[in-house]
Amino acid sequence: MNAISPSLAKMHGRKVTVHYGPKQALFDVDLDVPERMVTALIGPSGCGKSTFLRCLNRMNDVIDGCKVGGEITLDGQDIYDQKLDVVMLRARIGMVFQKPNPFPKSIYDNVAYGPRIHGMAGTKGELDEIVRSSLEKAGLWNEVKERLDQPGTGLSGGQQQRLCIARAIAVSPEVILMDEPCSALDPIATAKIEELIDELRENFTIVIVTHSMQQAARVSQKTAFFHLGHLIEWGDTEQIFTSPKDERTQGYITGRFG
């Protein structure tokens, strides 16, 4: 565990509040996401983890009636700044969703979609290479290399999720947000993804929502605990899991671990 000073944080959240219509889902969340590390968000269901995650790449823009307050910065730049461009932001901050959502396209086109819209490949060969390496990184290549032209929706749930991860990393974002990426996966696939996350950490900054304490402990360096829309505690994973400051954190963690 290498402690990194907050100044190296890739993203800062300051007093982040979120309202869905009249309902407030997040209350003054202050959270830093350090660069090239894995930050895990944990907490009981409905506490606002996904909501916070979606704030980080402005996916909440898509939801009618959702209002985000406070300040979130990426490399010191306010991402909710009027002048900042969402498309550019999202190209830098990728996301993998809780439920796999492959496009109704072939496997190849699913992965090639991002590189295409961002003009990342000049030639077909380059594109093939991006697709191959992304699928490889996502640990899916061997399973699908024979049938790249078949619909992505025809894959199993776990395969679909890895396809979505491959799709996200094909764009080489700086930050990858993952919302319970392993919830649909078997232990082997989960292990693969965890391994992958560990590797990606070398180049990417990762935020992951997980309900598995083990997973959080295994893959993350920082952990944040949410409860009822509040960020209760945040710090090094080791510290959170061994000596939580807040009794609610304690309760949550121990409740899970018996």
Partner: protein, 432 residues
């Protein structure tokens, strides 16, 4: 697995130029969308404005105030005041006499005929009603506002121009001078044209009303909705949810698509041969019209419903099956509610077409002149689009405004019919 970072990481091209281009494309695309919606609505507006600007004048009419002497000698020649005598008295004659007395200078037979032609030949009805409701008025002199003839009405509304040569005008100078004299005496007024909304068809424009056709349309659409909607939805459910995917269902599918392209008049031929020929149903009846239009509308509703059913994610069906629901319960409890918006869309555009259709009705006798307002789905009736078509084909100038006003009534009907479906659609609409 760990040799991934050997080659340099390719980053998205986020250069300003490219982003700008993408945004320009985005704006263009959005503009196309807005333009398309705008275009569609503008077309609608053009149509509506042109219809309403021509049709609104049919909702008011010109009336002539006449001080009619309710002469007992004319109304009750034999002194009996029973309802029959009162109903059949020559009230039109009274009106004519009044006019004759008002313009004593008009003497020749031809001029008198023109003079009498100032008022509608239904003018006597106004007096008849007054006398029937209160026979005690007989013997007195009362001012009645009777309906002016269509040409006079057109003159008043300015559709017949005064400044053209007399030979080119339907209304001769003499009639204009009488009209002006009446107007100077405050004997001309403009009122709401209640006849238009309360009468059946007539060959006299000022006596023609849209109610008969409206009722015909209502009865016809009632039959159509009752047949087409459940039948269409049920066949769509069967084909989409239950039917084995085999030759037969494929044939049915092609067949339904094909029926959508059959010219509507051919459905009329079918109705003529089968409903009238084999089943012996009556001609000119909304019952038959509704059945024919239902057959014509079915493909639209089936296709729309199937598209809507198809759009319901399979996960929802699986979830319901997962808790042990029977396939029918899955469909009725889960799939159908989600598909309702799409079904309603099908119903809206299918029934809208049925409402505006006239060609198939020709074959089954609904393109007809019918004076009486129908009281049920088996009474002879016509429908609004047919009425519009028939009026549009009439030579009298006054039918031009009636035609457009008929269209306005049809559109009002259409909008209220759609409103129900839209209400349902809104309630069930969601995105998942």
């Amino acid at each position: 697995m760990s040799d991934t970072s050997t080659q340099g990481i390719r980053r998205p091209d986020l250069s300003d130029g490219r982003i700008r281009r993408r945004y320009a494309a985005e704006r263009r695309f959005r503009f196309y969308g807005m333009f398309a919606v705008g275009l569609a609505i503008a077309m609608l507006a053009v149509l509506l404005v042109s219809v309403c600007s021509k049709g609104y004048s049919a909702f008011y009419r010109t009336e002539i105030g006449l001080d009619v002497v309710l002469d007992p000698a004319v109304i009750t020649p034999d002194g009996k005041k029973d309802a029959d005598t009162l109903a059949n008295a020559d009230y039109q004659g009274l009106v004519k006499d009044t006019l004759k007395n008002a313009f004593p200078e008009v003497t020749s037979r031809a001029d008198r005929k023109l003079l009498y032609a100032l008022v509608s030949n239904g003018a006597g009805d106004t007096i008849r009603q007054a006398v029937l409701s209160d026979p005690s008025v007989i013997g007195s002199t009362k001012r009645f506002w009777v309906v002016a003839a269509d040409d006079i009405d057109m003159l008043k509304k300015g559709f017949i121009k005064r400044d053209v040569a007399e030979a080119e005008r339907v209304v001769p100078d003499s009639q204009i001078s009488w009209f002006d004299k009446l107007a100077a005496n405050n004997q001309i007024k403009t009122t709401f044209n209640s006849t238009f909304l309360s009468a059946g068809d007539s060959r006299e424009p000022e006596q023609a009303g849209v109610l008969g056709a409206l009722m015909g349309s209502i009865f016809t659409m009632l039959v159509t909705v009752l047949l087409a909607l459940p039948l269409g939805v049920m066949s769509a459910i069967y084909l989409e949810e239950f039917a084995p995917k085999n030759r037969l269902t494929e044939i049915i599918e092609v067949n339904i698509n094909n029926l959508a392209a059959v010219p509507s008049i051919v459905f009329g031929l079918l109705g003529l041969a089968v409903l009238l020929g084999v089943f012996g149903l009556p001609r000119s009846a909304p019952l038959v019209g509704g059945m024919v239009l239902a057959l014509m509308t079915l493909p639209t509703i089936i296709i729309a419903t199937r598209a809507a059913l198809k759009a319901v994610p399979p996960s929802i069906r699986e979830a319901a099956y997962g808790i042990g629901a029977s396939s029918l319960q899955v469909v009725t409890h889960h799939v159908l509610p989600l598909a309702t918006p799409g079904i309603m869309t099908g119903a809206i555009i299918g029934l809208a077409r049925a409402l505006g259709e006239s060609a198939p009705l020709l074959m089954i006798g609904m393109v007809a002149f019918i004076v009486d307002v129908p009281h049920g789905p088996t009474d002879p009736a016509t429908v609004l689009p047919v009425q519009i078509y028939l009026w549009a084909d009439s030579p009298e100038r006054a039918f031009v405004e009636k035609t457009s006003a008929g269209i306005m009534v049809l559109l009002a009907f259409l909008i209220s019919m759609n409103a129900i479906a839209i209400f349902v659609r809104r309630r069930f609409e969601r995105r998942w």
